[in-house]
């Protein structure tokens, strides 16, 4: 199933401030995303179909009571479950770990930023979030979908063609490696090149 570049993606936005929720919702909608906003990490997990103490979603069909979420964008500083805690829960969940997560914060704290990136966050946005920041979301969603596709393709080629020429195999894994390296350098580049981030 090819990914339609024009497809409307669904973003789950998490922030305890009503003002900030209103802002992020508008930013996302203006950038053609479908949006669901929640005011806490625990509500976010509910939407994602995960109870706080679970590590994997129950075996229900997607139509049941979950909605497909393509990206989670969350505030860092929230009472109860912080954005970092939410990030961890998502990355620890077998069913949710591939959903890209972006963290927002009003404070530029390099150790905080690094901590989040190390835990698997795709990006860190400094508040107030700008329209131009929204453009950085789609690549993360598409990259995730591309990986999914490649994974399926690899699985299919492994089961259907027992005798695989080694060069063919290498090409697939090289592609993924190149993509991973690209991702890594992109992440580093974005971390340091964002005009609003000053890494001291």
């Amino acid at each position: 199933m090819a990914v339609d570049a024009e497809a409307q993606f669904h973003v789950l936005a998490v922030d305890d401030s009503l003002l900030d929720r209103k802002l992020i919702e508008r930013l996302l909608k203006t950038s053609s995303f479908q949006v669901t906003t929640v005011d806490s990490g625990s509500k976010a997990l509910e939407v994602l179909g995960l109870k706080e103490d679970q590590t994997s979603t129950p075996a229900l069909s997607p139509e049941h009571n979950e909605i497909e979420v393509n990206l989670v964008i969350t505030d860092y500083c929230m009472p109860g479950m912080t954005g970092y805690d939410l990030l961890k829960k998502i990355k620890e969940s077998s069913s949710l770990k591939d959903i890209p997560v972006v963290i927002m914060s009003s404070e530029n704290v390099p150790s905080r930023i690094n901590r989040c990136l190390e835990e698997g966050a795709e990006e860190f946005f400094l508040k107030p979030v700008q329209l131009s920041d929204m453009r950085r979301l789609r690549p993360h969603i598409l990259k995730g979908k591309h990986k999914e596709q490649q994974l399926h393709q690899e699985e299919n080629s492994n089961t259907n063609h027992i005798i695989i020429s080694s060069s063919n195999n290498n090409n697939m894994s090289n592609k993924r490696k190149a993509m991973d390296e690209e991702v890594l350098s992109e992440r580093t580049r974005l971390r340091f090149s964002s005009s609003s981030l000053n890494v001291i």
Binding site: L18, L23, K29, S106, P128
Partner: protein, 151 residues
């Protein structure tokens, strides 16, 4: 027709908000997000801001008068106020909050009291100016909405 004089007032008020440093470019971001789907977005956001900020100012007042003063809690409240202000581009409020936080960190009582007076003053000024701004906007009519003419 009065509309051109109203338009002039509107433009002048907007210019003053920026020239005096009450607002910064973040406010333009809000205007960019306003459209037919969300025609009153800016005013809605500003209203939400003043709802938040009034509550925070009241809480800060309580925290400042508390004996003994808990500078940690006080700082946390001022931090929230500053974050709120940054969402609408209330530049002067942000600056005043930054100074306030510095005094909190140093546990400087005099400094905190002075800063708080400044923050309260800017809060009222900003509110007044923005109330006038939106009133004028309504009077001038939808054709004049969301322009960057005052830049």
């Amino acid at each position: 027709m009065e509309s051109s004089s109203l338009q002039r007032q509107l433009a002048n008020l907007k210019k003053s908000l920026f020239d005096q440093g009450n607002l910064d470019e973040q406010f333009y971001q809000l205007e960019e997000l306003q459209d037919d789907a969300s025609p009153n977005f800016v005013e809605e956001v500003v209203t939400l801001f003043f709802r938040d900020s009034s509550r925070l100012v009241a809480n800060i007042e309580q925290a400042i008068e508390k004996c003994p003063r808990d500078y940690g809690s006080l700082d946390a409240l001022v931090h929230q106020l500053k974050d709120s202000a940054s969402s609408i581009g209330a530049a002067k409020m942000m600056k005043d909050c930054t100074v306030f936080r510095e005094y909190c960190e140093k546990r400087n009582s005099e400094g905190c009291l002075r800063s708080f007076q400044k923050v309260k003053k800017e809060h009222s000024t900003l509110r007044l100016k923005l109330e006038n701004y939106f009133q004028l906007l309504r009077q001038v009519g939808p054709a004049e909405k969301a322009t960057r003419s005052g830049k």
